[in-house]
Symmetry: C2
Subunit: 146 residues, 2 copies
DNA sequence: CTAATTTAAGACAAGTAAGTCTGAATAAAC
DNA sequence: GTTTATTCAGACTTACTTGTCTTAAATTAG
């Protein structure tokens, strides 16, 4: 089982992070992405297609085609990706699975979870693709190993 | 999709919390649990069976039979339940799905996630079934609504 | 001992997520 | 215009999770 994001979403985060390494507008093929990230080819194709539909990526067919970021890297946060793929249910649902999550009828960890949930949210919102690109250029960073 | 725990695990947390309300040793039937918690009968049966196998619950067949906590309530934490059903992969896996999660090859949110993950862990470890029972007796608390 | 009630067990069905395959559409390169 | 490389689209398969059904085993009550 994946942790909090679906497998699709994990792949989307990885692929988008990888795209962030490339100069703006530079097209990257699915083939390159699947090779570097070890993600099933057609599965990734559909995911990127979805992100393109949502406006987060650009795509171009034919030779020299591929995918690139659909907006300035500073404007794309991890939250955009997660929201596009998995939605934002985790922000409103009870972590113990009770039918609602409100202060009126709280579960045993409602308070604690509230803080953690907000922490996850800010983790996603405060990290944009431009930052990631910058961090990833550090030599120890994952994905740059080839 | 459930948030961080599987549906089974959510059910397990709810059912165990409910059992915590009862006097120690008092048997509660699946029927009562499914009715109060709105969980599919046989599905819950298997989950409780599993928790019994792992020693967290006691079971007894026949009339007056049912399930009760398998150890003193103070000794059962939410982490025990989660670990029994979903395991503890969330403690060691990368939240972005990369093959490993170490400081040597960190992903973009490794640091932040580390803190949040530890927060989730302590949320689970520091909440035992006895506390839950106490809190749940407050009138506004979920599950006591009937 | 018999009947009733409950968990135990396993097969099965339904639903969802993940992954595969094939061909069409598009666009560049020659 | 033809070839080639790529995304797009949809059907299909596989795997996993969730949920259902039926029967057996155990235990209590009478
Ligand atoms: S009620 Fe459970 S997290 Fe809010
Ligand atoms: S490497 Fe991603 S969370 Fe640690």
């Amino acid at each position: 089982m994946s942790i909090i994001f679906s497998r699709q979403c994990e792949y989307a985060l990885q692929a988008t992070s990888y795209l962030a390494l490339k100069p703006a507008g530079k097209m990257t093929t699915i083939k390159e992405l699947t090779k570097k990230l070890n993600i099933p080819y057609h599965f990734l194709g559909k995911i990127l297609q979805n992100l393109t539909y949502k406006g987060l990526l650009n795509s171009q067919k034919g030779p020299t085609g591929g995918f690139s970021l659909g907006m300035p890297a500073q404007e794309i946060t991890l939250y955009h990706i997660v929201d596009a793929i998995d939605g934002n249910d985790f922000m409103t649902k009870c972590v113990m699975g009770f039918p609602e999550c409100t202060g009126k009828n709280p579960c045993a960890v409602h308070e604690k979870w509230g803080g953690l949930r907000d922490g996850i949210y800010s983790m996603l919102v405060n990290k944009n693709i431009a930052q990631i690109a910058k961090e990833m250029k550090k030599p120890e960073f994952r994905l740059l190993v080839d």
